[in-house]
């Protein structure tokens, strides 16, 4: 039945490239025919249906269908499955498999005596409900997506907020996010309906790879980055080794090179790292600011509500003030403070060719071109025609200051919406000097943004758009030198703040009004009442100035006198409400995420994989071997920020009709419970991979997962409650001779602890494990010898706070150029490429680090201290406890006697103190295979 596909494609296997390119021209039709055929013939590509479990002779052994698939093959060889493992073995196996942590001795004891018929099922449910479950299973996922906390190469800098992606994965497992959603959020979390903070964070998936910020060949670097995305996506979600078709047609499967690029085209909208000076790239495009309540609240609605509430409160205050005769209906006279006022340009000259300074003895401003006076916010104002008009005044501020003025315009403004740095705009009040220096200013940017900023270090603030509406608006910028804090106000509302330089801002000699200081950026519109203060005005004063309402302290007595106490009380309360009103959080926090270009770029085939030899342009499509149905392309999101291509792909991958997807994840779940996957090559279901040992079992698992709505927890339950999972790992003589490789699963497969489990189990055993979840990666101390392998031994690994040193290994920083030696010795995943199955090596250097290393010796001593503390003076109990904490098993009396003898012998012959002898015993416990391996 597999004839056509299984027949070796000899012409393209191991042929050299010349032969290959010749073959490609003549055999494209053949490859297409083979792909079409493979879709119905190759086990992995066939339509997914739920197979019926086989009948078995010993039905009584079976707890669910999994057991029938397993037992049928065992029985076919006239073998029997192993007996059920002991309770002590089962709870340790299940705890480590689900949480990565050993059970406590108390948990073991309780489970062993639990007589309930559902004791085991209850145990599984308890472990699945543990938050540690997500921590354990996230690690399996992170191996696949080549998660690391740094970028690699010369600087090997930290990937900003990569840990939020890691925490998203932990949360997703813990919340049992349906697998289809888990796929959709990572591939298109910014495009799905109902997107939220988590789904944006999930798209950090695209940003996890190696990233060189100084590249020899930009096109090559971008192509390599794309290859990481294409290959990781195809392998992780589909089990297709698509990366093999980057340079030429696939050597094992009927996949044309073209199909690799068609798949890449799904990601053609993803903005890559941003080009910068020389050979360098910047991280701009890979970061986004996202509010934690993103998607649940519409910021525009929220903002509109804020504006309306504020307007109504102001109206109420003004009504009282008008009634009390404090001002007219427009809010005047103006009662701005004169405290620390160093300049006040009122622009009252009716010819508009001089600008007197209303502050006594202060220098007057110079009018550089004739303006003309118009009706102002108060009295007259100065009109700037967008040409040479400008007013200049000596800069008398530089430490703490406030700049305040009114402006009115219908002009579009300078710069562009995508670059709202103040020095790109049209000058309002400005002192910009070229280069990075101690300057500052305020300008109008395209579409009516008010922008402000300061230099050295460059600091930028910006309002929202739309202030070019032909109405008067008040603008104020305040600065506190000691903290560097800058606050930008429009119409009395703080619209942005930032922390900048704490130096005196003294670069410009004067300030330009109505233009940028350096003569560009002419403003077209009116400006009035420019005030400079040598203090940072508090928000209430800015508000009074902007709106013409008085401070409550000022107004209260007059209101009381004219209108009485009750009105005064209303006034006070209304002011209080106004003070309490907060502008909605607009920006949010930085996350590593996908961001799209304005439109997807064209995708071309790269001949021989070279970005410098572009061939035919291709459109997004899915590999023919997997194309049982077509992706729905009409899913572009309404927000218009992206093309919808990734969503189309995500929907196609997550579709229940896509058998590959569900087979792939089911196989991975099996892999981590049974310690070898049914398909032993979990990232390659094609011809270069291994075929499944139990082909129908894969389909049964996949179909069952779909029936369960993609709930991974449901599948853990199904697998772990099977009789197959509960088997003992002890082999019978018969099984050893007839099923030596344990292909039939005649007994459970033992496994070694993973690197993380090993360290975490030591910390759990001695009671120092810090269970805090999530957050930035931690850096516990490393041996000096290891730091010295870095080109920056003293800066490469700054320690995090001491309490973090015993956090779970999941949270230890994964730095591409430097790793914790114990973790890398025990086969941590390679961080640069997808790792579907970890190595499990046995090398003498592991023994060295376990017996001589600082880490194990320290943890062993802490274990000794723990048992001494718990059982002071009772050596027998201390030893029992140490063995329980490390093996999950209560040692026999003989074993304990032997251990006591050992401890005493060390004291007698090696002259160790009782404490030191116990340290040595605890170190032996950590080195026992009983600790390192799971039965």
């Amino acid at each position: 039945m597999l004839s056509e596909f299984v027949a070796p494609i000899t012409s393209i296997v191991y042929a050299d490239d010349v032969a290959l390119s010749a073959t490609k021209k003549t055999s494209e039709a053949t490859i297409v025919a083979r792909a079409n055929n493979a879709r119905d013939s190759w086990w992995a590509y066939r339509a997914l249906t739920k197979p019926t479990a086989p009948t078995v002779r010993d039905e009584s052994w079976c707890r669910n269908d999994i057991d029938r698939f397993i037992l049928a093959r065992i029985e076919a060889k006239n073998l029997q499955p192993a007996v059920e493992a002991s309770r002590e073995v089962l709870i340790r196996r299940a705890s480590l498999d689900l949480t990565g942590l050993p059970p406590t001795p108390e948990e073991v004891a309780a489970f062993v005596v639990d007589e309930s018929s559902l004791a085991y099922e209850t145990l599984i449910d308890r472990l699945l409900a543990s938050e540690h479950y997500g921590e354990k299973w996230a690690r399996h996922w992170l191996d696949l997506v080549r998660y690391a906390d740094t970028n690699g190469f010369e600087r090997d800098s930290e990937k900003t907020s990569a840990w939020k992606y890691r925490d998203f994965v932990v949360r997703s497992f813990n919340e049992d996010l349906p697998y289809a959603e888990f796929i959709r959020e990572q591939l298109a979390g910014d495009e799905i309906r109902g997107r939220d903070f988590d789904s944006i964070v999930a798209t950090g998936f695209y940003r996890l790879g190696l990233w060189d910020d100084e590249v020899p060949d930009l096109a090559q670097a971008l192509a390599d980055d794309m290859d990481g995305i294409v290959d990781t996506t195809a392998r992780t979600f589909l089990g297709i080794s698509l990366g093999c078709a980057r340079c030429h047609d696939h050597k094992g499967d009927p996949i044309r090179q073209k199909e690799y690029y068609q798949f890449a085209a799904w990601f053609a909208g993803v903005a890559p790292y941003k080009e910068s000076a020389f050979n360098s790239l910047e991280a701009d495009n890979v970061l986004r600011m996202v509010r934690s309540d993103f998607g649940h609240v519409d910021p525009e609605v929220e903002l509109a509500a804020y504006v309306a509430t504020r307007a109504s409160l102001i109206k109420d205050i003004r009504a009282i003030e008008v009634q009390a005769g404090l001002c007219d209906a427009t809010g005047f006279p103006d009662r701005a403070s004169n405290d620390a006022l160093v300049a006040h340009l009122r622009f009252e000259d009716d010819r508009g060719n001089s600008a007197a300074n209303a502050v006594n003895d202060a220098p007057a401003a110079t009018v550089r071109d004739a303006g003309f006076a118009v009706e102002g916010r108060i009295g007259r104002a100065f009109h700037f025609d967008g040409g040479d008009d400008r007013v200049e005044i000596k800069r008398t501020i530089g430490d703490d200051f406030t700049i305040s003025f009114f402006m009115r315009t219908t002009d579009v403004g300078g710069g562009s919406e995508s670059d709202r740095r103040w020095f790109r705009g049209d000058g309002l009040v400005d002192g910009e000097i070229g280069g990075i220096t101690r300057d500052f200013g305020i300008s109008l940017i395209a579409n009516g943004y008010i922008a402000a900023g300061a230099g050295a270090p460059e600091t930028f603030l910006t309002s929202g758009p739309g202030y070019n509406d032909g109405q008067w608006h008040h603008v104020a910028l305040t600065r506190v030198r000691s903290s560097g804090e800058l606050e930008l106000f429009v119409d009395g509302m703080m619209v942005d703040h930032a922390r900048g330089s704490t130096e005196r801002l003294d670069a410009p000699k004067s300030l330009a009004i109505g233009a940028m200081l350096h003569a560009d950026g002419p403003f077209s519109g009116d400006i009035d009442e420019v005030r400079l203060y040598t203090r940072a005005l508090p928000a209430t004063e800015v508000r009074s100035m902007a709106l013409g309402i008085h401070s409550v302290e000022f107004a209260r007595s007059e209101v009381t006198r004219v209108l009485g106490e009750s009105s005064a009380q209303t006034l006070t309360q209304t002011h209080a409400s106004l003070d309490a009103l907060r502008l909605p959080e607009l920006e949010g926090e930085t996350v590593l995420a996908v961001r799209e270009k304005s439109a997807p770029s064209a995708t071309h085939i790269m001949q021989r994989g070279s970005p410098h030899a572009l061939g035919e342009e291709v459109q997004p499509d899915v590999p023919l071997i997997a194309a049982r149905f077509a992706p729905d392309l009409a899913v572009a999101p309404a927000h218009g920020e992206s093309s919808g291509r990734r969503l189309a792909l995500a929907n196609w991958i997550a579709d229940a009709r896509n058998g590959l997807t569900w087979r792939t994840i089911s196989n991975r779940l099996w892999q981590h419970h049974f310690n070898e996957a049914v398909v032993p090559t979990p990232n390659d279901f094609g011809r270069l991979g291994e075929e499944p040992t139990h082909p129908e079992l894969v389909d049964w698992l996949a179909a069952t997962l779909i029936e369960n709505g993609g709930s991974l927890k449901a599948m853990h339950r199904v697998m772990m409650t099977s009789a197959s999972y509960r088997m003992s790992s002890v082999a019978t003589e018969q099984a050893l001779s007839l099923d030596a490789p344990n292909e039939l699963l005649t007994r459970f497969r033992m496994r070694r602890l993973t690197a993380e489990e090993l360290r975490d189990s030591m910390l759990a055993a001695n009671g120092t494990l810090n269970n805090a979840m999530g957050g930035p990666a931690v850096r516990p101390p490393l041996p000096r010898e290891v730091l010295e392998t870095s080109s920056r031994p003293n800066e490469v690994w700054p320690l995090t706070e001491e309490s973090s040193w015993t956090r779970r290994s999941l949270y230890v920083m994964l730095k591409r150029s430097l790793q914790m030696p114990l973790l890398s010795a025990f086969d941590l995943a390679d961080l640069d490429s997808p790792c579907p199955v970890r190595f499990a090596t046995v090398v003498p250097t592991q023994a060295l680090s376990m017996i001589n290393g600082d880490l194990t010796n320290r943890e062993a001593a802490l274990l000794a201290r723990r048992v001494e503390r718990e059982f002071p003076g009772q050596l027998r109990q201390q030893i029992v406890r140490a063995r329980q904490l490390t093996s999950g098993r209560t040692p026999s009396g003989d074993e304990v006697d032997e251990a006591i003898a050992f401890v005493q012998e060390l004291q007698n012959t090696e002259k160790l103190s009782p404490e030191q002898a116990l340290d040595s015993l605890c170190l032996v416990c950590f080195n026992l295979n009983e600790f390192l391996y799971i039965d």
Binding site: S791, P836, V837, F839, T845, A847, E930
Partner: protein
Amino acid sequence: MNQPPLNTFCGQTRREFLWQAGGAFTSVALAGLLSNDGFLQQQALAFDGTTRLPEGMSIARDNPMAAKTAMLPGKAKSVIFFFCYGGPSHIDTFDYKPDLYKYDGQTIAVKTKGRGGDKSEGRVVGPKWKFRQYGQCGAWVSDLFPHVAGCVDDISFIKSMYADSPIHGSAMLMMNSGKLLGGPSIGSWANYGLGTVNQNLPGFVVMLDSAGGPISGAKNWSSGYMPAMYQGTVLRGKGPPILDLANPAGRSDALQRSMLDRLKLWNTRHALLRSGNSELESRIESYELAYRMQSTAPEAVDMSLESKETKELYGCDQEQTREFGEKCLLARRLVERGVRFVQIYSGGGHNDESWDAHGDLKSNHDFHAGRTDKPVAGLLKDLKRRGLLDETLVIWGGEFGRQPTAEYANGTGRDHNSYGFTMWMAGGGIKGGTSIGETDELGATGVGERFHVKHLHATALACLGLDPNHLSYFYAGLDQKLVGVEGAEPIRAIMT
């Protein structure tokens, strides 16, 4: 190209191979312990899920790190690679450009690409040292390397080297792994292909400069997607040579032995109840091996066993050359003991701590050459007089060379140059007293027959008797090779 490998796959099925190779991979250096049992089968397939037969290799049945028969007749058994990190200037060392002196200070049109981007003209910096001819072959060597100059009849220069990157990070990874993004390093490939004859020492040893590691640190000697047993082990000249080799302070050997005996007893009892899982036995044995390493490794690095004359030959008696001289002497002791691949870094950290002479070329290269010239020459001479040079391949060079023009308006500093630079090889499999390839009159770029980093790698593998186009490791659906999937031929003209 594509010659058939001499040793083939002996008709095993791929699954059989996986079982053996994979099983063996889990248990380095434990020859004879492994048998066809269930636990191994699991590991065979589990170690990466896709690995299969390295084409054309014969693999020892039981132990992947055991010495293996080479694929082709090779001369070298070991490699010592001097990595001059930062990029030594070829035109100030071994690539004599007489015209360059007279252009000194003139601004001329020349295309360069370095840290500072692409440039089309620059101010020439004339070479800062005199060149003289040496040996029967008459090779030109600058006054930076008077001692190495005395060995030129054993050396073959490759003067038209080029690389894909003029940026340290990616260029370092390329010189070590053949790929800009990194991967298994050349030392890993050599051990993967040949194993090691001394199970008590690591097969791939790296010695770093006292200034620190190179950029990317351990990634330069990583085994990438191969198992960690193939990665380089950092060996230190002072204190315990290998991390965690020494007993913790205050633990006597007798105590260590008591603990190991107790461990063995209890672990053996545990394994008895789990017959068929020989990984457990392997791990028991790994502690014995570790214990043997504890005594073997210190002996290997014990300089007190060397004569005064030998130490002087390497410059161990002089302050300037002591550090590097000791490393060179150590390298000889290691290859004598069967270590397959030794990499010694000259330069570490950043800027002038390495050969990265952006500012003052003179002081930078005087410093680094002054520390290494005599030791490198001492090693070549010592290997030769002991009859070891014929079976030891010595490689010298950096990740790239340097530009003929100045980087800044003032000063002698040169930016990076990956368009043309020099590396040299000597010893096992190499025809001494030869030179191949050349750069243009300025030394700005290779002209005529140019040699890529992968050709250097191919030559090194071929000297070891490994066919660079068939030494492959199946990963991610491809037969990965050090020289890339498209392959590369060794530079036969410089090989014996």
